[in-house]
């Protein structure tokens, strides 16, 4: 399989706001700790690197693939491709963006193969349902557009309950139930920690699309939490 490793070579630099205080021009060489860990670090550094990204990579791969086994295979292929092609990595994006770009290519290629095997309906639910309309039930507002049924205040919920394993499991399940297009944006933004510009570049979507999908996804996860924490 041919893997496009120069996927991001044409990307513009990530947007950086203009400083309100013009000062001497300093050319900064960004430090990419992940890249340093891979190139100069030992086994412990590599093990820490794969450990740090394993969760987000698995979640993203499972957006495209049918089960954990298939997602693990995609993660494995991603790291092997990384080791094979790292010498050609030009550093025009962060290492993290680059490795997730490889994963997206691998997972999508594997999904195309899967789609030739799985019945059409098995895959259909994964791509439809982007959704339109309000993210909060309109019945919760009065005719004046103000809350008639406002959200509960969570400030009284003990932190131990918010952060317990069962809550996190519910959040994970809620993410998995999102329509695929919302799920991939939510995973990249809120699980993997990419910023908006990086997600637009990775998924080749507009800033407006990114925001709509993220907002709908977050609103759906919040709604699930509201029901769970009642």
């Amino acid at each position: 399989m041919t893997m496009s490793v120069s996927l991001f070579s044409s990307l513009p630099p990530l947007s950086q706001g203009r400083s309100p205080y013009p000062g001497p021009r300093v050319v900064r060489e960004p430090i990419d700790r992940d890249l340093d860990a891979l190139r100069s670090g030992g086994e412990a550094a590599f093990e820490a690197l794969i450990g740090r990204y394993h969760g987000p990579m698995m979640r993203l791969a499972m957006t495209y693939l049918r089960d954990r086994g298939a997602a693990e295979d995609a993660v494995q292929e991603t790291w092997l491709t990384c080791l094979k092609t790292i010498e050609r990595f030009e550093g025009r994006s962060s290492f993290k963006t680059w490795i997730f770009g490889i994963l997206l290519n691998v997972a999508r290629a594997r999904r195309r193969k899967e789609s030739r095997i799985l019945p059409f309906t098995a895959l259909l639910r994964r791509v439809t349902g982007e959704g339109r309309g309000p993210t909060v039930d309109p019945h919760r507002f009065g005719g004046d557009g103000l809350w008639s049924d406002p959200p509960d205040n969570w400030s009284n919920i003990p932190e131990s309950r918010l952060l317990d394993r069962e809550t996190i499991d519910h959040v994970r399940a809620a993410i998995e139930e999102l329509p695929a297009k919302q799920r991939e944006v939510v995973i990249l933004r809120d699980v993997a920690g990419f910023d908006a510009g990086e997600v637009c570049a990775l998924l080749a979507i507009s800033a407006a699309n990114q925001r709509v999908r993220l907002h709908r996804g977050r609103a759906a996860v919040r709604k699930m939490l509201e029901e769970y924490l009642k």
Binding site: P134, F141, P150
Partner: protein, 76 residues
């Protein structure tokens, strides 16, 4: 702005994507609206909890395969 409008702008607000004028109107609404304050705080909580979903150990067989590939790559 109404609550119904404000809730749909919250992700744009958190990402700093509102125009100066809309941001001012948004914040003015928030000052006097406990319902919208609670909703924004809950979206932030949802985002924070999603960040915690990330942690997942690498299964041992996969780790062994990758560490072996890393050793081969280092020695080549």
């Amino acid at each position: 702005m109404t609550c119904k409008e404000v809730v749909e702008l919250m992700t744009d607000y958190l990402d700093g994507m509102l125009s100066t004028r809309d941001r001012a109107r948004f914040e003015e609404h928030m000052t006097g609206c406990d319902g919208c304050k609670a909703y924004l705080s809950e979206l932030r909580t949802a985002r924070m909890l999603m960040g915690r979903v990330a942690s997942e150990p690498v299964p041992e067989p996969l780790k062994a395969e990758l560490m072996s590939a890393f050793r081969n790559w280092k020695s080549s």
